[in-house]
């Protein structure tokens, strides 16, 4: 538990660093996915208490994990997956048009 927050922060930083330094568009998308996943990890971590049971109450429990962050996490996963799908679709299309995956070569818009 003590390493939980550093891990999440490390993941966020890794993702952002990937976005900032990589030139391959797919890798940039991977970076963004890492950041998004780390926040879902944060949600999951929030739900958990030491010794808590899963929130499926087929019989009474002393301590139950918080079900709300799990539900939120599920929603967030779906949304992130959709965004990632759109990103990938755009990358395919951009690759068709510009014939490159290097983000620095896609610079028609400026000024």
């Amino acid at each position: 538990m003590i390493l939980l927050y550093p891990t999440i922060v490390l993941l966020i930083c890794m993702g952002l660093y990937t976005v900032l330094t990589q030139t391959n568009m797919i890798k940039i998308i991977i970076g963004i996915s890492i950041v998004e996943s780390s926040i879902i990890l944060l949600l999951g971590a929030m739900a958990y208490f030491p010794g808590a049971a899963a929130p499926v109450l087929d019989h009474p429990f002393e301590l139950v994990a918080d079900p709300l962050p799990q539900a939120l996490g599920l929603t967030a996963i779906v949304i992130n997956a959709s965004t990632t799908a759109i990103m990938l679709a755009l990358v395919i299309k951009l690759h068709n048009r510009y014939d490159t995956l290097n983000i620095h070569e896609i610079k028609k818009l400026r000024g």
């Binding site: 930083c13 900032l20 899963a54 539900a71 759109i86 395919i92």
Partner: protein
């Protein structure tokens, strides 16, 4: 070259500074004394109010069903966007030829996938699972089919148009469940509050309209993700 390394250095310092600041605030927040009133209500009264023993499903399909319909819209939109952005082409990106062993074993496995997905959807309110997980497994089926038997095999049976019709009907089903709540319960997406028979918690037919919602969402998510995958794999 010098320029690039400067860029990396800048990015590294920026990101690490951000990391330190975030870490401090994470610890600040985790040290707070918080009463989780919302969750307490769900845990204490969830089962008796909604009739579902899986609290996550109870939240997703009853307490916060409004979120879920939004989320379903997101998937729906994403599927149609991907189909819009990527044009219809004939050939497939995946040209791998597999041996008959693979073909046979996949054909053997697929019915189990089907059963699992139906189980997850139907028992969503009773055990871990639900419309989303079930839908994902349905889409995994279509991914497997495309991988092993090829793109044409899949599109001969289910092309995108037909899949999106199924998706449309799934979504409309979910919406009409919401409108049912509006008519009988006085509020959009009212489920257990609409006076629907909740059943005994733990039985298959419990939780009011929840199994039906799960079914709608399962159909929607499964077809939606399949559309996304099919569209992404098509290429010149």
């Amino acid at each position: 070259m010098k320029n690039i390394s400067f860029n990396k250095l800048f990015s590294f310092s920026l990101v690490s500074l951000l990391g330190v600041l975030l870490l401090i605030s994470f610890y600040d927040i985790s040290n707070l004394e918080v009463t989780l009133s919302l969750s307490e209500h769900y845990i204490n009264y969830g089962v008796e109010e909604t009739g579902a023993i899986n609290l996550v499903t109870a939240i997703l399909f009853d307490y916060r069903a409004f979120d879920t319909i939004g989320e379903a819209t997101v998937i729906f939109t994403a599927a149609s966007i991907v189909a819009l952005i990527l044009p219809q082409h004939e050939a497939s990106m995946l040209k791998t030829e597999f041996t008959p062993i693979v073909h046979q074993s996949i054909a053997f496995i697929l019915p189990f996938f089907w059963v699992i997905s139906i189980f997850l959807i139907a028992y969503g309110h009773l055990s871990p699972g639900g419309g989303f997980s079930g839908g994902v497994i349905i889409s995994a089926m279509s991914i497997l089919i495309i991988f092993t038997y090829g793109f044409h095999y899949m599109t001969r049976r289910f092309n995108v148009t037909r899949l999106s019709l199924i998706e449309d009907f799934g979504a409309l089903l979910f919406l009409s469940i919401g409108v049912f709540g509006l008519i009988y319960g006085g509020s959009f997406l009212a489920n257990s509050q609409a006076g629907v028979y909740l059943g005994n918690p733990g039985e298959l037919l419990s939780g009011g309209l929840m199994p039906l919602s799960n079914l709608a969402v399962g159909a929607k998510v499964g077809t939606g993700l399949s559309i996304i995958f099919i569209s992404l794999t098509r290429e010149d």
